[in-house]
């Protein structure tokens, strides 16, 4: 698969939020404006790309040679958490004000299932190191797109007079569902037509 193909696949076609229902947690229900969501999404995207690369290394050089394939899950989980922790530490040292201003909830980023999901998807696809990195980056971009759009919709909904029993979380989920339907526009057939013609 070409790099453009990977980018389009993982940012639009196989969007980690809208087709896999992963990582919606920071967007729905929780308070926080566009700024907080965008920086959270960006941080998660960064984590995804680094983790995808790390997971690739882990799998290729450690798990497969040693025949420990069944330990994939704990190994990946640990790897993601450690990388998140290291990034958090680095960010705290380097740009403490930025971190505070952006209001990134580090724990929520680290325990976001989207990251582990992307790592697992990337591991399944049998990519090379560079490809894994691109997968992580583009999945992060897709995550960012979905979350930004959803947050804009959410901010609009928050001032409307919606039915009380659906206010907040339920409507955010329903919005995500409708968004997912709209994103069905970018399906695999769409991708193949772009690359191979009719």
């Amino acid at each position: 698969m070409s790099f453009l193909g990977i980018i389009l696949t993982f940012s639009l076609v196989d969007n980690v939020v809208l087709t896999r229902l992963l990582g919606i947690c920071p967007c729905v229900g929780a308070p926080g404006g566009m700024r907080a969501t965008a920086s959270t999404a960006a941080a998660t995207g960064l984590l995804m790309s680094v983790s995808a690369l790390a997971a690739w290394a882990l799998e290729t050089y450690v798990l497969l040679p040693l025949g420990l394939d069944f330990l994939k899950t704990p190994a990946f989980v640990l790897a993601v958490a450690c990388i998140a922790g290291l990034l958090d530490l680095a960010a705290r040292r380097a740009v403490p004000q930025l971190l505070r201003a952006a209001g990134v909830p580090v724990a929520a980023v680290a325990f976001n299932c989207a990251t582990l999901g992307v790592v697992l998807i990337a591991a399944k696809g049998g990519f090379t190191a560079l490809q894994s990195l691109v997968v992580g980056l583009s999945a992060g971009a897709g995550f960012f797109i979905a979350l930004t759009v959803l947050t804009a919709i959410r901010e609009k909904l928050d001032v409307e007079q919606v039915p009380e029993w659906l206010r907040g979380l339920p409507l955010h989920l329903i919005s995500a569902g409708l968004l997912a339907y709209a994103f069905l526009a970018f399906d695999r057939a769409f991708l193949s037509r772009i690359f191979q013609g009719w």
Partner: protein, 220 residues
């Protein structure tokens, strides 16, 4: 609670998938919280047990340990399920390993509730067991509910375990000829989850209203 459902709701296209997911969740949840309590009792001094988590940095957080525990149990569930039901395991794909993170989300949510006074060790174990089991049960109910709606309307069938003469699939006549397939897409999962969340809130409100109304009636 419902937030933790999101990833799992992706595999509610068939009732049987939802059942397996619930089973896995209950397995991981119960074992994790059980071992967490036991580790607490073994390692922590009694006084510091209730001090709560100070998130001074992720690496220092005890959640890392819990996450590792959950991941180990998830891996073992993966192995077990792969042995007993390889097809279903393949159908669930990445969502089985994701149970680990899912479980943490639920644990963390549960952890936010006010702590009770320190009890006897045995009582603590039982209480943790009960809490985990009830969370797992709620998870299962929600997931199965969603999957029943989605599968019935989305493909006109209800897929269960094959049992003896029963082939495992109930065909809902009328809908199966032209089911609303769009419900099987990811969007359908979100929609069902959203309405379920709304209904849960509605139910909670009705339940709250009734005792209050009764109380008012009694006062008059």
């Amino acid at each position: 609670m419902l937030v933790g459902l999101c990833p799992a709701a992706a595999v509610t296209g068939r009732v049987i998938d939802a059942l397996w997911m619930s089973l896995g969740m209950a397995f991981v949840l119960i074992l994790t919280s059980l071992s967490r309590v036991i580790l607490h009792l073994l390692l922590d001094a009694p006084g510091s047990a209730g001090s709560g988590s100070r998130e001074s940095g992720l690496l220092g957080s005890r959640w890392l340990g819990v996450l590792f525990l959950a991941a180990c149990f998830t891996a073992s569930f993966e192995v077990i399920m792969g042995a007993f039901a390889p097809q279903e395991s393949a159908a669930l794909g990445i969502y089985v390993p994701l149970l680990a993170v899912n479980c943490i989300v639920l644990e963390r949510l549960a952890d936010g509730s006010p702590r009770r006074a320190i009890q006897e060790n045995g009582a603590r174990i039982f209480r943790a067991l009960g809490a985990a089991a009830s969370r797992g049960a709620a998870f299962a109910v929600a997931l199965v509910l969603i999957s029943v709606v989605r599968e019935t309307l989305g493909s006109g069938t209800i897929t269960l375990f094959p049992l003896g003469a029963f082939g495992g699939t109930i065909v809902v006549s009328g809908i199966s000829a032209a089911p609303a397939r769009a419900l099987l897409f990811a969007g359908g999962g979100f929609l069902c989850l959203g309405y379920l969340a709304g209904l849960v809130r509605l139910a909670g409100r009705l339940r709250n209203r009734r005792p209050r109304a009764a109380g008012e009636a009694g006062a008059q």
